[in-house]
Symmetry: C2
Subunit: 383 residues, 2 copies
C-alpha cells in the first residue's frame, strides 16, 4: 500500500461503442465484429495539448476499474496503489485511461455479450481474438478520446503483452512503454498451464460446449482453472510465508486440511462470481498465440528509428514470467537501438509482485515518466 | 539408457498376502485393514547371509514392476535403466525388491480392491493411509522374505519419502538410505498442486463420490490431474527443448494448436488406462500429510547412534522438489551425526530427472553401495 498517495475518489465506468464507421472491428483473422463496446475508466485530466495521457493495460482477469472506488463499494480498483494523486501514475499530472479488453466480460464486448445478429449470447460464436485485436480496439478508444500520442502505455503480465503490441504496431502513437513481468511470447510451460485451465473449464459438464448462458455456470471448471492460476501467480517462498503447513480451522465443510487448500478453494469460488468461463478460454488463447516478434527476432519487427523509451520491469521470484523473458525484451530493444531500461525487483511475491510491489515500482515509474516528459534519455538500472 | 547394462529379463509380479497373524495391518490412524496384499517383484539372488537385499520404493504413479519385462510386453519396468546386471542396482550383486504401495492400484490392496467385509470395491470406505503405513506394510514383506537388515532402501519423489520413513522408523533394519529428489515434508506449493489434481478428479461427475467402479471412470478428472502433474515433473527448459512453440500436426481432433498441449492430452489420457482415480486421491493425501520430522526438527527424531549411511540426490532444474529440500535432509543427517553424502546433479530434466539421469546416478549409487557393503565411510561430493 502506498500510504503517501491519495485516492482518485469515486469513479464510474464509461462505455465506448464503435457506432460510427468503421462500426465493425476487422480482426487479425479477417473476421469482423461489431458494434464493439469497450468499457473504460479515466482518472486525472487530459491537458490542452493532449500530451499527458497514459494507457494502462490489464492482465487476464483484470478490468477497466484500475483505480478509485465505484459508488457504494469498499474495494478500490485493481491497481489503485499505483494510480492516483502523487502515485506512480500521478493523476495530478497525467490523464490515465484503462479499458477492459475485447473478449473480456467486464463491460467490453466478449463471448458473454449479446450477438446483435442472433439476439443471443455469442458463446463460441464469438470469433477468436488476438492481443493485436485488443490493442487495435484500444487504439479506436484513444482516437475517440482525441489523443494522437500517448505519453506511455503500461501493464503487467498480459497487460505487458499489450504494451509490446503497441510498441511493435503503433510506435508512432506512444512516447514510452512499460512492459512489466511479461514475455515476447509464451513458453511451452506457460501454454501448458493455460491449457490445463482451459481443459478444466471444458471438462465441466455445465460448460455445455460454451452455451451455458441462462443455465448453471461451469463453476467447478472455472474455479479449478483459477486455482491452477493462483499457484502460478505466487512463489514457493510467498506460499511458505503465507501458509506454511498450517492446518485450517475445522469449521469448513470440505475435507481439506491445510490453509493453502482452503485459500485456493476460496479464490477459485470467488472468481466464478466475477468472471466468464468463455472469456477465460478466449483470452488465454490470445495470450498463448501472441508473439510480439511474429516468429522473427523482436528487434527485426521494430520500425526503424523509432523514438520510444522503454522501461522493462521483472521480479526475481516470478517463475511464471521469469526474468529471463524480460531480459529478452531489453535485449531486443537494445539491438533495435531503442532507449531501454531494465530493472529486476528483488521480490518474493512471485508473479503477483506486479500488483504488490508498489514502492519500488512507484519509484521507477515516476522517475521514468518524468524523463519521458522532459524528453531525456533514461538512466540505466542494474541488470 | 544405460547401454552397458543388460536386462534382468522376463519377470513376474508376485503377491504377498498377510494371511497369518497379524492378518490385519494396524494403520497409524488406529484403524485396521486386512487381509492386505502387496504386489512385489524381485531381481537378482538373495545371498546365504541375506545381507545383499535392496528395497526400491516407487513414486506416486509407479508400481512393483521396476525392472525387466513382463511376458509378451515390450516396455520394461519403470527403473529398468537403473536395475539389472552391471547397473546402478547391480542384480549380479544385490537382491532387489520393489513392491506396489499400500493404497495403490497395481496389485496391492487399495481403494479399487474388493473389501472382504462387503464384497464390493472399497471406494472411499478405504481407510486413510500414510507413508508410515506404506512402509510398515513393506516391513512385513521384508520380514516374510526373511531379511533382517536391508543393505539399502532407495527411491525418488514419494519413493524418497518412504526412504526417509524407513530411516526414522526402522533405522535398525537398514544399512543405508538413498532418498532422491524428495522432501522431509511437502511445502504449501506442493500441497497446492496435489489439491488441484484431487479437485479435478472429485469435480468429475463420473467420480460419483468415489463409487464409480463398474461404471464409467472419472477419466476427464484423472487426465486433468495427470496433466497438471506432468507440467510439474518437467522444467521450463526441458519443455522448451522438447516442444518449444511447435505447432502440432493438423490431424488430431481437438482444437489445440501446440505440440505441448497434444503431449499433455496424450499423457493424461493414457494415465487413465493404467491408474485408479481413488488411489490418486489417497496417495497424494499421504504425501501431503507426510512429515518425516513429525513437526519437529528431523535430527531430533533420528534414533541416537544409528549407523546408517545416507546418499541424498537432487537435481538442479527440479522445481517441484527443489534442491533446498534435499539439503534440509542432508543438514538434519549431519546434525544427527549420520554419515551423509549429497549430490546435486546438473540436469535440465526437472523432477523427471530421477527417472532419466541414469548415468550420473549410476556412478553415484554404485560407488555408494560398494562403500556401504565394505562398511567404509562415504566420500563427500560437491554441495
Amino acid at each position: 500500500m502506498n500510504e503517501d498517495g491519495k485516492s482518485v475518489g469515486i469513479v464510474e465506468t464509461q462505455y465506448f461503442v464503435f457506432a460510427h464507421p468503421p462500426d465493425e472491428l476487422i480482426l487479425e483473422s479477417g473476421k469482423k465484429i461489431g458494434p464493439v463496446t469497450l468499457a473504460y475508466e479515466t482518472y486525472g485530466k487530459l491537458n490542452a495539448q493532449k500530451s499527458n495521457a497514459i494507457l494502462i493495460c490489464h492482465a487476464l482477469s483484470g478490468d477497466a476499474h484500475a483505480a478509485g472506488f465505484h459508488q457504494g463499494e469498499q474495494k478500490p480498483g485493481w491497481w489503485d496503489d499505483m494510480i492516483g494523486p502523487g502515485k506512480a501514475f500521478d493523476t495530478d499530472k497525467y490523464f490515465v485511461i484503462c479499458s477492459n479488453v475485447l473478449g473480456g466480460c467486464k463491460g467490453s464486448t466478449g463471448p458473454s455479450s449479446i450477438n446483435p445478429k442472433t439476439g443471443r449470447h455469442y458463446g463460441l460464436d464469438f470469433p477468436a481474438i488476438t492481443i493485436g485485436d485488443m490493442v487495435n480496439a484500444q487504439r479506436y478508444l484513444v482516437d475517440y478520446l482525441g489523443i494522437n500520442c500517448l505519453l506511455s502505455v503500461a501493464g503487467g503480465s498480459m497487460g505487458g503483452m499489450q504494451v509490446l503490441e503497441w510498441l511493435v504496431s503503433y510506435p508512432d502513437r506512444i512516447r514510452s512503454a512499460i512492459p512489466i513481468a511479461t514475455a515476447i511470447r509464451h513458453s511451452p510451460q506457460q501454454i501448458a498451464f493455460n491449457e490445463v485451465g482451459r481443459q478444466a473449464i471444458m471438462s465441466d459438464p455445465d460448460w455445455k460446449g460454451g452455451y451455458y448462458y441462462g443455465g448453471p455456470l461451469p463453476a467447478k471448471g472455472l474455479a479449478l482453472a483459477r486455482m491452477i492460476g493462483h499457484i502460478t501467480y505466487m512463489s514457493d517462498i510467498s506460499m511458505e510465508k503465507k501458509f506454511s503447513r498450517r492446518i485450517k480451522n475445522g469449521d469448513s465443510k470440505d475435507d481439506t486440511k491445510f490453509e493453502v487448500e482452503e485459500y485456493l478453494h476460496y479464490r477459485g469460488n470467488s472468481f466464478v462470481k466475477r468472471f466468464d468461463a468463455n472469456s477465460y478460454l478466449y483470452i488465454t488463447r490470445a495470450m498463448d498465440y501472441f508473439d510480439a516478434a511474429r516468429g522473427k527476432f523482436l528487434w527485426d519487427v521494430f520500425k526503424k528509428n523509432i523514438n520510444v523509451k522503454v522501461l522493462v520491469i521483472a521480479f526475481k521470484s516470478d517463475w511464471l514470467y521469469p526474468a529471463y523473458q524480460s531480459k529478452e525484451i531489453v535485449k531486443a530493444c537494445k539491438i533495435a537501438g531503442l532507449d531501454a531500461t531494465y530493472c529486476e525487483i528483488d521480490s518474493t511475491y512471485g508473479h503477483d509482485a506486479f500488483l504488490l510491489e508498489t514502492e519500488e515500482q512507484t519509484h521507477l515509474i515516476k522517475h521514468f515518466l518524468e524523463k519521458v516528459k522532459k524528453g531525456e534519455t533514461t538512466d540505466e538500472y542494474e541488470i
